[in-house]
């Protein structure tokens, strides 16, 4: 699914990622953990093609294709989805028509016919159940006036509509109360299958008790300093990051 080799990247003039190697197979869930400033969000953004992140070295192959050579919208249409940590508000653009625009962009790419608003509504009605969103969710402007929880739910709704092959969840758990976290996590779990993969970027172990990872990677200072199974997350929760970070420096 995804192969990352020696990825280095900077924001402005600060080198944030200092050589990341990672391989993800279909059906796998990988958690990327790490203290603040370790580069975990930057990693997700680099994969999605956020223009504020400049990749300086390394290669990324997504389904065999050179991901870094693709424009962000082409990456998205190829099946890379990022749930944003801070979803942006777009006044005046109706959520349902935004979703349809995105959905149709993908269909067009696949040589399928675009759906009109009525046809698309049938799909939407199914999808909003996944995130337990009220009907008026669709009629409001994209993220405008949404609470933090609603914004995250809207991200997962978009994921449900676009059915990505690789989902990057960038601190989707941050700012969520327990109920919202449950709804969002259950939504993600329902979308998970043996053919798609998830990268879960998070600071806390909390979300990982809902979405169980196959692998956990701890990132510090732009490098993966430890990889393991889901137990690693529990250990991090118990002991914090410091013991790993100092061990990482020694290694």
């Amino acid at each position: 699914m995804l192969k990352v080799e020696g990825l280095k990247a900077k924001i402005s003039d600060h080198e944030i990622l200092k050589g990341i190697d990672l391989e993800i197979k279909p059906g796998e869930v990988h958690a990327i953990m790490g203290p603040n400033g370790s580069g975990k969000s930057t990693f997700a953004k680099a994969l999605a093609g956020d223009p504020s992140v400049k990749v300086t070295e390394g290669k990324v192959f997504f389904l065999g294709k050179d991901l870094l050579a693709m424009e962000p919208d082409a990456r998205a249409r190829a099946g890379v989805f990022m749930a944003f940590q801070y979803p942006v508000e777009v006044p005046g653009v109706n959520n349902a028509s935004f979703l349809r625009l995105a959905f149709n962009a993908k269909r067009k790419q696949n040589g399928q016919e675009e759906l009109d608003p009525l046809e698309f509504d049938d799909i939407l009605q199914e999808k909003i159940k996944i995130v337990e969103a009220p009907q008026d969710f669709l009629d409001r402007s994209v993220n405008q006036g949404f609470s933090g929880g609603e914004k995250k739910r809207n991200e997962i709704l978009q994921m449900a509509v676009l059915e990505p092959k690789l989902a990057l969840l960038d601190e989707t758990d941050s700012g969520l109360d327990v109920d919202a976290l449950r709804v969002v996590s259950e939504g993600v779990n329902r979308l998970k299958n043996k053919d798609n993969s998830i990268i879960l970027v998070t600071h806390y172990q909390r979300i990982l008790s809902y979405i169980v990872p196959d692998f956990v990677h701890v990132l510090s200072n732009g490098r993966i300093i430890k990889s393991g199974g889901k137990d690693l997350a529990i250990e991090v929760e118990r002991r914090g990051y410091d013991w790993l970070v100092s061990a990482g420096v020694r290694a």
Binding site: G49, P51, F84, V88, V93, N94, L101
Partner: protein
């Protein structure tokens, strides 16, 4: 950062698709301006004496006036002696008896502009008056409209056929001495459209005028007069384009609307004059226009909707004089500037009658190195008891080099007035564009979607067929492709 700005620039500098020129043998052409010019025009049009008197009076007035410079726009001095005041293709010299006689080249020109001069085609529900340089080429559906008593014809024809209406209403809304360009227009105007809706009549079709300036260095000075009698209703739309030239063309129009008791006039504009070269700013139309409506009758209503995307310079303030008690004035505007365009546009709502209401919704979009200004006046006079205004001015900036200003003026002389003003300025952010892109939507479609969302409140005021066109026009202007 600069890299991104350049990319946005690329998006806003699409080619102007109406920039072609029609080659026709020129007929009468008059360059330069003195009393003789005016006599020539009036004589050529075989006008009644009151018209020549009117024009000469206006010209003498104009000579005493100075070009206004209070607007927030900059341009080199205009040489009024180098402007072509009358330009008529030779094929238009003889009077046409029917639409079939319209010169094929002229027909093709309008067809290319999307305005078929036939009564069967696409715009079957819309009557069109097509104006090419200084003359009206054809007016469709005249006979059909006449059945319900509606008069829709070129201004020149109206002067011949309905002189009493012209004499009564010409300059009854915009006095000759109102401003420099209005005086100039009054002296030299050549053609335009005339609409008269009799009592208790709902005009059965959309009426529309299409203005095309073709000849280099020519000015277009058109005059539009719309009179809506008691309990009547009309919806009118104008469109405009011009070829690409390196020199500027002057467009100084005057539009007058009169609404009597319970009458309603809806006036919509989709303006897409050539805007000049986006990089050097060379060429393009100077659009110096005076538009004003008089809500003369009780409970009358005048509604201006404009989508301004073209012109090198726009100087235009469609206004309402709310004279009749309970009358209503509305102004809905989208002004888009890109490249080196400059716009100073807005409205005046003058509340004179009791319980008069006005609404102003202005959406300014500035891209490139353009300069986009809203200028508006809300005046509530001493006798305008219980009057209300609501104003909303929103500016959207694209890129970091564009400029937007808002100049709202309020003069409130009656304590019972309720006046609200809201203003916002926002920027299409790279974060927004990236968000769209991350969902698989191209940068171009993202821009178009955000801009359409921003303009929604205005677009929905346009007559159905044109709302789509306007949104596509903005799309073309900004991106190239719109769904």
């Amino acid at each position: 950062m600069s890299e991104k700005t350049i990319r946005i620039e690329d998006l806003v500098n699409r080619d102007y698709q109406y920039g072609f020129k029609t080659d026709l043998e020129p007929g009468m052409t008059v360059r330069g301006l003195d009393e003789n010019t005016i006599r020539l025009i009036s004589n050529h049009k075989k006008e009644p004496p009151f018209m020549l008197d009117y024009r000469l009076k206006a010209f003498r007035q104009w000579q005493k006036m100075k070009e206004p410079h209070w607007a927030h726009v900059h341009y080199p001095e205009i040489d009024y002696q180098n402007v072509i005041y009358y330009s008529e293709p030779k094929v238009m010299e003889k009077k046409l008896k029917s639409l079939d006689e319209v010169d094929p080249e002229l027909k093709r020109t309008f067809e290319r502009l999307g305005i078929p001069l036939t009564e069967q085609k696409r715009l079957a529900g819309v009557a069109v008056d097509a104006i090419f340089d200084s003359v009206s080429v054809a007016t469709t559906f005249k006979a059909k409209l006449k059945e319900s008593g509606v008069i829709f014809c070129s201004f020149s024809e109206a002067v011949q056929e309905y002189p009493e209406l012209i004499e009564k209403y010409l300059s009854s809304v915009v006095p000759v001495a109102d401003n420099f360009y209005a005086a100039l227009n009054s002296a030299v105007f050549t053609d335009g459209s005339f609409v008269y809706i009799p009592k208790n009549t709902r005009c059965p079709m959309e009426l529309s005028s299409y203005f095309r300036i073709n000849t280099e260095n020519s000015g277009q000075f058109e005059r539009t007069l719309i009179i809506c009698e008691e309990n009547s209703h009309v919806s009118y739309l104008e469109g405009c384009t011009a070829p690409k030239f390196d020199t500027n063309q002057l467009h100084a129009a005057v539009v007058e609307l009169v609404a009597l008791d319970n009458a309603e006039i809806k006036y919509s504009t989709v303006q897409n004059w050539y805007a000049g070269d986006p990089v050097t700013g060379k060429g393009g139309i100077y659009n110096f226009v005076t538009k004003r409506g008089k809500c003369l009758g009780r409970n009358s209503k005048i509604s201006w909707t404009q989508v301004e995307t073209g012109s090198a310079i726009t100087w235009k303030y469609p206004s309402c004089l709310l004279i009749g008690d309970d009358s209503v004035g509305e102004f809905f505007s989208v002004a888009l500037t890109a490249g080196r365009q400059q716009a100073d546009t807005g409205t005046k709502m003058i509340h004179l009658g009791k319980n008069t209401r006005s609404t102003i919704i202005s959406k300014g979009i500035s891209a490139g190195r353009s300069n986009n200004n809203y200028r508006g006046l809300v005046q509530i006079s001493k006798n305008a008891e219980d009057s209300k205004n609501f104003t909303q001015c929103d500016s959207l900036l694209i890129g970091s080099l564009a400029n937007a200003n808002t100049f709202p003026y309020m003069e409130i002389q009656n304590p019972s007035a309720q006046v609200e003003h809201e203003a916002t300025t926002s920027r299409i952010s790279d974060d927004q564009l990236f968000y769209f892109q991350q969902r698989g939507i191209s940068r171009e479609d993202a821009m178009s979607s955000i801009i359409n969302g921003f303009c929604k409140a205005v677009f929905r005021e346009l007559p159905g067929e044109f709302a789509v066109e306007a949104s596509q026009l903005l799309g073309l202007k900004l991106e190239g492709t719109v769904g």
